[in-house]
Structure formats: C-alpha cells, structure tokens
Symmetry: C2
Subunit: 294 residues, 2 copies
C-alpha cells in the first residue's frame, strides 16, 4: 500500500440536459451536453482509520464521496483542491466522487477497471442527489454529448471535436438538488430538443446556441445571468448559463470582450486521470500477480 | 476555411488481440488490450488541389489516409511527424488515419462528431488491411481494453486506470497485413483467453502477464524478441512483444535495467485530439450557425 494517490478531474459545465430516472442509480442519469474544463479538482486519497473529507482546507460532508468509499470498502482522508467556485455549476461534487474512486483504487491497490470506478462514482452522485451527468462526462473529457443516460454500460457518449478557450463568471450559488429533485418534464423536453439540434450539427456554435435556447425554454435563467449573456451577445460573443449554477460561461473571449473580468481556461481533452508525480507511477505496479507463472 | 489544422494521436502498442470480421468495415475489428503512448504522430492537414501524404519528410502512400479523405470528400496535403519507428507495431497508420480525420474535419469546417470521425478512420484502416483495433484505442487513450470489436457504436471499451512509464526497443519490422490476413483462429482463441484474464483482474501486472502468454500461445514471438523479454524478466522486470512488430515494450525501467538502450515514454491519458496553437483554437469556431436566431 502506498502513502497516497492523487487524481485530477476536470470541472464540467452542463449546457443542456434531461432527467432520466430508473430504479437503479447506475442506469439513472441524464442526456445532454457539456464542456469539461482544464480548471478542475485535484483529489488526494490517503488511507486512514476514519474517513474525513477536506475541500479547499475546510472539513466538509460530501455524500457522494462517502458513498464511493463505502462501495470500495475503505476509510480514507480525501483532500480536494480546486480553483473552481463551489456550488456554482462546475460539477465539483462529481469531480470529488470520481477523483476519490480513482485515487482510492490506486492507493489501496484495488483491481477495478476504469468503467467500474466510473460506475461507482456515478451511482454515488445519483444517490446523493447532487448530479446526474457530470461524472460520466468528467471521466471522458472534451465537449461531451450524452446521447443515452446512465453510467458506463448503459450510456452512449459522443463528442464535439474541438478544444476552444472558455471564460466563466460566477454570480451566485444554486442548489442542484432543489432543481433536479422537482418536476422536470418541461426541462427534459427542452433538453431533448437541444440535444437533437447538436447531434444534427455537432459544432461549438450549435452547442452554444442550443444551450442558450435550453436555458430559456427550461425557465432556468436568472435575471442577472440573462443580463450578462445579453452583454456578451451584444459584444459579438457566445455565452450561456452553467447548469445548475448562477454562472455564465463563454467561448473564446466573449466575457472579457463584454467588459467582464472572468476566469479563463480551456476545454480539457483528457478527462479524470491519476496524476503522475516526479516521473513515478502511483501504486506498486510491478508486483507479480499471485500464482501466475511468469 | 483556415490554413491548416494539426492533431496529435498517440502511438498504440497491442498486447493481445482477436480478429473479428464481419461484412461491414465499421463493425469489423478486434477485441484485446493495448497501451497508448505519449510518443505518437503529429498530423497536419492542409487543403490542396490534389492529395499528397508525407511521413517524416518522405512522400508515402497510406491507403487508410486516402480512404479517410475520400470519405470526407476532400483533397489535402497530410504531413505526419513522429519519433516512433514505422512498421514496428506502434499503430502509425492508424494514427495517420485518425489524425487526418480530426485535422480535415477542423480545417474544412466539417460538422462531424468525434464518433463519426473515429468510425471513418477505423473503417478506412480495416479496409486498408493495416489494423483492426488501433484507431479506437488511439481515440480513447490510456490502457485500453477492447471488450467488443468494431468501431464506435459497435465496440465496448474499458480501461485499466494507470499511467506507468513505458520503454520500448524495436529490433526489426513485421507486416501487419500478412499476419491479420492469414488464418487467425488460434490467434483469436489466445486473444480471447488473454482478454478474459485481464477483465477479471484489470491491473498492469495482469496485462503484461496476459500479453506474454498471448505472444507465446499465438506463436508470434520471434527468437530475438523472446531473448530480450527473457533478459527483462531475468532482471526482475515485465516486458512483452508489440503486436505486430519486432518490438519489445516494458513497464517502468524493465529494458534499461536489463542493459538495453530503449526509447522512454509513458501511457498517454488523452487519446487523439486537435492541437492548440499559441492559445488559439483551430478553425473558425465562432461563426453563427446558419438560420438560427441568437
């Protein structure tokens, strides 16, 4: 057993989505589209007598993280570090869940595949009620289209092959559980319509257009978010609202050209992955498997 | 239309595989396992009156590349740059095909999704007879397990969550088409057996063990490759043969500790992706989609 393992998981901004519930958390999820970001969460996992979770130096309760550790049957100290705003539509809880799964499997020398770890993190996030589509997108990276909902084995993912710069500006917080726990028929109809547009023309422009239209049709735009998006449009740019946060995201330099002072990053091409430290792999990878002739 | 677009596609070393043929090149392919490498092929695509393909400054005919450009209905200059040995089991033809698809879609402002581009590149490589599983693994990145064969929509991919350093040493060339065009029943039985072992215990150690066993059972080991692998084993390391090349690959420092002078890289976590140049995105991403209200 090594001392610790660290995974980096990109942030995820959802542009449009549906809510697709089943009796099983691993097949429950959401269709839709979102962008993973080079700004994300670094998650370090250390074996411990009793589980504690720290995010940005503050002890926190993150139900999805506890559920991941329970599923793996381990206790650990989980330390999250991020430049992303928390509770603002960047999938920080999903990143913590997926980073915990990847880190714990490495540090405890688990023998689970990538899809198994993603399934555990996705199911934990669904059961915690904090997200439906972030984890599977964060595991893949890029601009992710979720054509079918659920975890690995159930879902169907595609991508838009582009890596534009992204700017974002957070105005306030929204509670994901409040929105995705309420009546979602209208929201899901708007999300399915948006997805169908983008599948028909998988470009960054269509993605942004469909996202704006979804935010309007699903009645999720707040007045302040709407004002910022209109400012970006007036300046010739493309912006929409991060679902579900009081956050505006723009492609390229849309927010700064409209006079705002946004954070700047880029679409992440990689997805959640173990970090490599000083050229050394984490975990003891070269142990011989038991009982095999070499 | 921009001047050019460049994609980076990782090299891919296959450890074990099956041959699964159907009547359709997009569903034909291979189950198995392989490692994508941070050493890969940089593919630049420029619109041209007539297609020419250059690899390492030499004009070449790569049937899979021609087929990708035909499928996209374009003519282009395609320039490949790589540090990898060519014809030695690193999936250079697959990397050229996938890089051409990604680059051409960007430079000609195509509107194809990632899966559509991977399908085109995979089908082109199958029809050219130069590979069955490289393209889908190179599109995903990481240590890739191909649980079901074929292109996107048909296949089923998983991964081993690890990114170890990799060393490789090429001794000579092998012709992929000769091997995968001949009788493959024994090879496929050994490949299915290896895959089943690794699925049961998805770790780097099992991957290397299953790869060595496959090479022996499928009767693909040459005497020189066998000698090098035995030297690595004697020095306490893990090595196997890159399918299909006269190449030995090792995890960690296996080859250098056995006294060889290998190339050194690492498992690539990202997969094939457009390169970002000077902070600018390739292609004109901010055009308004036709006919949409903003």
């Amino acid at each position: 057993m090594t001392d610790e393992a660290t995974a980096f998981v990109p942030g995820h901004v959802t542009g449009f989505f549906t809510v697709d519930r089943t009796d099983d958390p691993t097949t429950t999820g959401s269709r839709g589209g979102g962008l993973t970001l080079t700004d994300g969460v670094r998650v370090t996992v250390r074996p411990a007598e009793e589980t504690t979770v720290v995010l940005e130096d503050v002890g926190v309760e993150i139900d999805a993280v506890d559920r991941v550790l329970d599923a793996l049957g381990v206790e650990a100290t989980v330390i999250g570090e991020t430049d992303l705003p928390i509770g603002a539509g960047f999938g920080v809880s999903g990143a913590m869940a997926l980073g915990t799964a990847l880190g714990a499997n490495a540090v405890f020398e688990g023998e689970l595949s990538t899809s198994e770890l993603v399934t555990i993190a996705h199911g934990a996030e669904v059961q915690a009620g904090t997200g439906l589509g972030d984890v599977v997108a964060q595991a893949r990276g890029g601009i992710v289209l979720r054509l079918e909902a659920g975890g690995p084995g159930t879902n169907d993912l595609d991508g838009i092959p582009a890596r534009p710069p992204i700017e974002y500006l957070t105005l306030d917080e929204l509670d994901t559980a409040d929105v995705i726990g309420s009546d979602t028929d209208r929201l899901s109809a708007a999300g399915a319509d948006a997805l169908s547009r983008v599948v028909n023309e998988p470009t960054v422009e269509q993605f942004m257009y469909a996202s704006r239209r979804f935010a309007r049709e699903a009645d999720l735009l707040t007045a302040e978010v709407r004002n910022v998006i209109e400012d970006v449009t007036a300046a010739g740019g493309e912006a929409s609202m991060a679902m579900l946060g009081e956050t505006v995201f723009a492609v390229g330099t849309g927010l700064s050209e409209a006079g705002y002072d946004p954070d700047v990053c880029r679409v992440d091409p990689t997805g959640g992955t173990l970090e490599v430290e000083n050229g050394e792999e984490q975990g003891e990878l070269l142990d011989d498997p038991d009982g095999n002739e070499q």
